[in-house]
Subunit: 143 residues, 2 copies
DNA sequence: GATGAAACACTGTGATT
DNA sequence: AATCACAGTGTTTCATC
């Protein structure tokens, strides 16, 4: 990973569909050399995957929140993890140190569906004994 | 946004460098039709941008944490926002409702640099009166 | 949306440093 | 090992229907 790789990564972060020939024009490297570097960044694991960042608001998801969760029981935790990972509303799920066990980042259409998510998906079906929801008013930076 | 657009989005989320001709083979649509749909998904704002998901661990960033922040003063808040957005360690910054003012998602090489970040970038230079750091032990889901 | 032609980009090879 | 140039192949774009 040298400075050239860094520049390539920065360009791909801005637009992952940028072609090798476009990149080769700004970094003064031949097209095969650029393509080869991108392949190596991917196979070495520096690049996890090429993806697309969707706009939540355009998709009607106006409610963004973080939910801290306390969960009890081994079997219940396993069920919880499966359900959570499958849920389309859960963007992220982290196992945390400290007061709570898990931290979820959820994106939903509105507060009604958030309430429904907390009562039905979280509190009802699993041994979630406590939650703490932090609403996001606005986002200044997102990767 | 019909079902075909949905399928295209799903494919691009898996691999944003997938070519229109590859996509056209699985959804039975001509190449120009696929390219046109992708352009429209982008210009309509459904697609925010094509990007690349990097592997934090491969890049030596072994410490992931969320930091809640309380900040006082108008001028200080402005400075804080500028500094935070510029910081390479800050992946996300959200304005939150409730007990704290901001929530940062930070990725750093180790705990030492996290301590340095909190004391130098956060507490020293700005009127950050209180912070609360939540460590991430592991990540189950990330978009 | 589809088709076909022209423009463009990618891959593989061999040669170079 | 990394890079380049070239040729062959595949992909995109732009017109037209």
């Amino acid at each position: 990973m040298d400075a050239t790789d860094q520049r390539i990564l920065e360009m791909l972060q801005q637009n992952s569909r940028m072609t090798s020939s476009e990149i080769s024009k700004t970094i003064h490297l031949s097209v095969p050399a650029v393509a080869e570097r991108i392949r190596k960044l991917e196979s070495s694991g520096v690049i996890d995957r090429f993806t697309v960042k969707l706009n939540r608001h355009t998709l009607g998801q106006h409610c963004l929140a973080y939910i801290f969760v306390v969960i009890q029981g081994n079997e219940e935790t396993h069920q919880f993890r499966t359900k959570i990972i499958e849920s389309e509303y859960v963007l992220e799920c982290h196992h945390t140190a400290g007061e709570y066990d898990y931290l979820l980042k959820v994106s939903l259409p509105d507060i009604q569906s958030l309430e429904q998510f907390i009562t039905e998906t979280l509190k009802n079906k699993h041994s979630v004994t406590r939650t703490n929801t932090v609403f996001i008013l606005s986002t200044l930076k997102d990767e």
